[in-house]
């Protein structure tokens, strides 16, 4: 705990992520205005007392849109990373348990295959097939997260299973699944959490990119990526519209990256000296 408090970038990560989470939670019960409400006479207003960060080309309140956008971004991260983590953990641990078998080979080769596709492209392909939208974007981003977690889970699980206490447990009569659950899982959980934090940041970036292209979150549901795309049309008239959503993306990604880096340092003191 003392170490955590004296790790500056980790603390910045914790504070920033907590603030972002708070914004998302507040948006569930309160936003300054209805984020979808259009007021054409109030369009492209600069920041002021009524609209703190101004209004967009339809007169919608930017603060409210950013707040709901935060919620959407976090939801995508949560579902996509949750999907990738769960599927990846199960597949990776199975592959490790049956190391060298046909199952291991088949699993790892098919995951290598998914990995060979550039992530943006996988997502675009999936969204072309399933149609654009927030839910489909979550699945698309989740799918390219699976190989990342599976590879790491397999590698880490193999290390744990080579330990003496796992052999002892097996000699004592523990079954495969009880070993995986009681010995392997708790030992690789830390590593997985660190990876999840990094993947969370990447998922936010991916959702923003897909929404920027118009195939992620669909209007009227606000998204940071889409707000940036809209802002580009009015770049010379209302440059601030292109600043706020981008800053929101960068700040969130920074927060979760710092959190992940910090957790890694704290969980693995050997890496800290570097």
């Amino acid at each position: 705990m003392r170490r955590a408090l004296s790790h500056p970038s980790f603390m910045i990560g914790v504070v920033l992520s907590a603030a972002i989470l708070a914004v998302a939670l507040i948006s569930l019960v309160w936003t300054p205005y209805d984020p979808g409400q259009m007021r054409i006479i109030m369009r492209l207003k600069p920041p002021g007392a009524d609209f703190w960060l101004g209004t967009d080309q339809f007169g919608r309140d930017v603060v409210s849109m950013l707040m709901v956008g935060t919620r959407n971004a976090l939801m995508v991260g949560l579902v996509a990373v949750g999907l990738g983590l769960t599927a990846g953990l199960v597949l990776g641990m199975l592959a490790a348990r049956f190391q060298g078998s046909f199952l291991d080979e088949a699993l790892m080769r098919s995951l290598d295959f998914v990995f060979a596709f550039p992530a943006v492209l996988t997502a675009i392909l999936i969204l072309t097939f399933m149609g654009p939208g927030l839910a489909n974007a979550m699945i698309a981003i989740g799918i390219f997260n699976i190989p990342v977690f599976a590879r790491q889970a397999r590698g880490a699980a193999l290390q744990v299973m080579a330990q003496d206490y796992v052999r002892a447990a097996r000699l004592a009569g523990c079954g495969t699944f009880s070993i995986l659950r009681r010995h392997v899982l708790p030992n690789i959980a830390g590593l997985m959490i660190v990876q999840a934090s990094t993947q969370f940041a990447l998922a936010i970036l991916a959702e923003a990119g897909l929404s920027y292209l118009g195939i992620g979150t669909q209007p009227p549901n606000p998204s940071w990526g889409r707000m940036l795309n809209d802002a580009q049309t009015f770049l010379s008239r209302a440059p601030l519209l292109a600043i706020f959503p981008g800053a929101a993306i960068a700040l969130s990604v920074l927060a979760f990256n710092l959190l992940g880096d910090g957790l890694r340092d704290l969980l693995d003191p050997r890496l800290k000296e570097r």
């Binding site: 970038s9 295959f113 060979a116 596709f117 550039p118 992530a119 943006v120 492209l121 675009i124 392909l125 999936i126 072309t128 097939f129 940041a201 970036l205 923003a208 990119g209 920027y212 292209l213 118009g214 195939i215 990526g225 940036l228 802002a231 580009q232 770049l235 010379s236 440059p239 292109a242 981008g246 993306i249 960068a250 700040l251 990604v253 920074l254 990256n257 710092l258 570097r274």
Partner: protein
Amino acid sequence: MVRFLIKRLAAMGLTLFFAALVVFGVLEVLPGDPAATMLGLSATPDTIAALRLELGLDAPPLARFWGWVVGFFSGNLGISYTYRVAVGGLIAERMAVTLPLALMALALAASLGIALGALAAAKANTRIDALVMGLAQLGLAIPNFWFGILFVLLFSITLGWFPSGGFPGWREGLFPAIQALVLPAFALALPQSAVLARITRSSMLETLSEDYIRTARAKGLTRGQTLRRHALRNALVPVLTMLGLQFSYLVAGTIIVENVFALPGLGRLLVQAIGGHDLILIKSLVLFFVAAAVITNALVDIAYGFADPRLRVART
């Protein structure tokens, strides 16, 4: 070596074949009738039937798949539905924008990333190190398309140094064409250079703790000479692996960045094809992007097989 080469190339061929199968399956077989998808909701059965005939959709899927794969190698990919020109020619034409853009971005990312990473390692645990690593964290957090928008805001709208988008074409001369590619290349390169700077730094710090560095210092080399001749060279091995992988990320990154700058490249073509439900164009473009990634990765592996015999066994 020959065995390694054959094995690696066979693996690459197999990956590409499965990739083609997946792309074809996902886009043409699974969602029902491609002709109906392309024409949208207002299509009449007659127009759908006419398009099915035009696209040759009444042939069995396997025959269509085979025709497409053979076409991919001979350059005969059919006629784009929205553009009404040959897909092969369209891809070749757009490549003249995307390839130079990706190469420029790669050169920028490599020079910036390696230089800054080496600087941070040489000045490890000083303010300079902290500053460079802080910038790298920022670089990782800022999406390439926001870099693009910020650059347009600063260098095009405010300062007027560069065009805010579009591409004059290579026929208009080298300078205007390159000028149009500078901002997109930087937008693509900066996040990647942040990744490279972090890898270079940690790889160099690892190298600096090796015995041969102490030997080099002991035999009288200055700190700078040791850093340049011994540490940086050896530290570059993992960096170069990453650089190979990054080329495919950069090519995929053009999908978004070309849209920021309205550049007529492959990435913008793909997004427009998706907007126009042009399945004929989409499937060939997607396979093209995947092929670029798979082939680059194979080439990186093979290059390493030549450079380091130990990897010939480990990588297959």
